[in-house]
Amino acid sequence: MILGLESWTLARPEIFLAAVTMLLLVYGVVRGEVATPFVSVATSMALLVTAALLFVPYQEGTAFASLFIVDRLTTTMKALVLIGAAAAVLMSRAYFEQVKAWRFEYPLLVALATLGMMLMISANDLMALYVGLELQSLALYVIAAFQRDSERSTEAGVKYFVLGSVASGMLLFGASLIYGFCGGTAFVQISRALLDGKAAEIGVIVGLVFVVAGLAFKISAVPFHMWTPDVYEGAPTPVTALFAVAPKIAAISLTVSVLMGPFKPLFLQWQQIVVVAAVLSMALGAFAALRQQNIKRLMAYSSIGNVGYVLLGLASGSEKGIQAIVFYLAIYLVMTLGVFATILMMQRRGAMVENVSDLAGLGKSQPMMALAMLLFMFSLAGIPPLAGFWGKLYIFIAAVEAELFIPAVLGVLASVVASYYYLRIVKVMYFDEETEKLDRTPFGINRSVAFVAALLVTVFSLAPQPLSLIAAAAAKGLFP
């Protein structure tokens, strides 16, 4: 029986999310614009319920004729993605109401994109990978252009769409070569064919390079990062917050499971590519951000740099490396959500501002907000003993144990350079003369998200052990 009952129970979080999204879509279409607040809250609740469904009861296995796989790693990654997406939906209301683009399709498109991310995390076949990736990408293209009266948002959407389509094309081309040479698209078939001596075939290597290039675009690793700063700056801020967390975590998880799964026999081949991409990303993330004035653009370069560290963990190819990646991503999720919650509170006379210089004097006018931002920035810079430091430490330990000495040293140097621009924000907040005060936003969801994020960063800084154990359990999924 190909579609046995276990297929349905195994995929129940995805089925639940899809069903709820479609019901809410019908409700939104029938009720019109009045439905927006309800649809938004219901969507974020549905995302959280989906996250809960992942664990009660926890199950493992493959479903739908082995196209779909669930193990500890996919479950953990899905949980991170769902938390990121739910927070991004909750944080978006104030912004979109202000720019008069508050419509019920936005949370639903985020939910559909999240569904695509879950499907691609669980992909166990090149075709399943592709459909999941397209579901995610298409929804993200639309929400990048969601504020359609803004020229910059539309530009971001078009840019993302065109470059994303090129990347999808590259990925498909590589997949077709691999299918041709390995005789199948299932990950099991590919890995069996590679172990049977197909690994030496030049066609497989070329296919692998194209697949890695396509995936590198989705995680915005150098040299496929060109779209990131423009899209992050142009897209509406809540959308940027979503882009910086959920799709990135999903694409990294996909990259990890593709490279460490079917392409494990080609480890020596892809390791070179991943090391080069990692070093370049860390360097570009550090140097290009130095002169940025726009804080969203700065966060874009920061995310490119962070992807570099994650790729360094992947290049080590060990269980410890994967554990470090999961740990790093969990902390990255919390820090990034906190930073964007703070950015969303940056308003002056009722209008959003997004320059670093606008933060001047925040240390005096709003000490709590400045303190939270200080915590996130110190943590992103990797200053011990904050959470970001532990993340980087685990990555570097894994890299050194895999004898990647030079990339690890370069990574440490890049993080020193990068700490300049993180600390510059702190300096602007506390030591620069304020020009004009930022508005004091009323207590709301953004303030709570920033508060919870700051709290979690503190907890992870003082006690990284529980999170590290969760990450270790997740990494076991790839190394049974």
Binding site: L67, A128, V142, G157
Partner: protein, 205 residues
């Protein structure tokens, strides 16, 4: 067998002739109509080699959607063909070269120029295997069982495309008068008519 060969030559000749007419005809609307004719004949050729599923898809997708879209574009936009033809002689050598390369590749693949005969016989062997069951049924058998998951997700992708197109283009314009049939029918005599007593020399105010 003779009938099949005859049918093949008729359909092939019409395909080639109408494809040529797409390029040569002066009126762009005629070009699109010839394109549709070419699609129909290509579909007939597919039926002849036993690929009835591709034939139907060709008619539905290319004739039903793509060609109609072309027709819309041609009719909406004011295209000046003489302007388009201006560079014809300049680009002719390049175009001809690409054509010759493509022709050589096809001949190579078919094994006429010596190489590649092995691949062709391999393909034929595959074909014989598949022909045991007609191909719509063969696709249906895997599409709704083995690839059920992909089929459903593809449906979701289309749903996202639809929502996206509506979100990015639909604008609610205030002040546009629409016909509301329900309101029209619900109108009662009292709402629609008033009886006014008109005083002499007063007029109706």
């Amino acid at each position: 067998m003779l009938l099949q060969a005859l049918a093949f030559y008729v359909f092939a000749a019409v395909t080639v002739a109408s494809a040529a007419m797409v390029v040569v005809s002066r009126n762009p609307v005629y070009s699109v109509l010839f394109l549709i004719l070419a699609f129909f004949n290509a579909a007939a050729l597919f039926v002849l080699i036993g690929a009835e599923f591709i034939a139907m898809i060709l008619v539905i997708v290319y004739v039903g959607a793509v060609a109609v879209l072309f027709l819309f574009v041609v009719m909406m936009l004011d295209i000046n063909l003489t302007e388009l033809r201006e560079g014809f002689l300049k680009y002719l050598p390049v175009g001809a070269m690409i054509g010759i390369v493509l022709l050589a590749e096809i001949l190579l693949a078919l094994g006429i120029l010596g190489a590649g005969s092995a691949t062709m016989s391999g393909l034929n062997a595959h074909g014989a295997q598949v022909m045991a069951v007609d191909n719509t049924r063969a696709i249906g058998r895997v599409l709704y069982t083995q690839y059920f998951y992909l089929f459903q997700v593809a449906g979701l992708v289309l749903l996202v495309a639809m929502i996206g197109a509506i979100v990015l283009t639909l604008r609610s314009r205030p002040g546009v008068r629409r016909q509301k049939v329900g309101d029209q029918i619900n109108r009662t005599k009292d709402q629609a008519m008033t009886v006014v007593k008109v005083p002499t020399r007063g007029g109706v105010s």
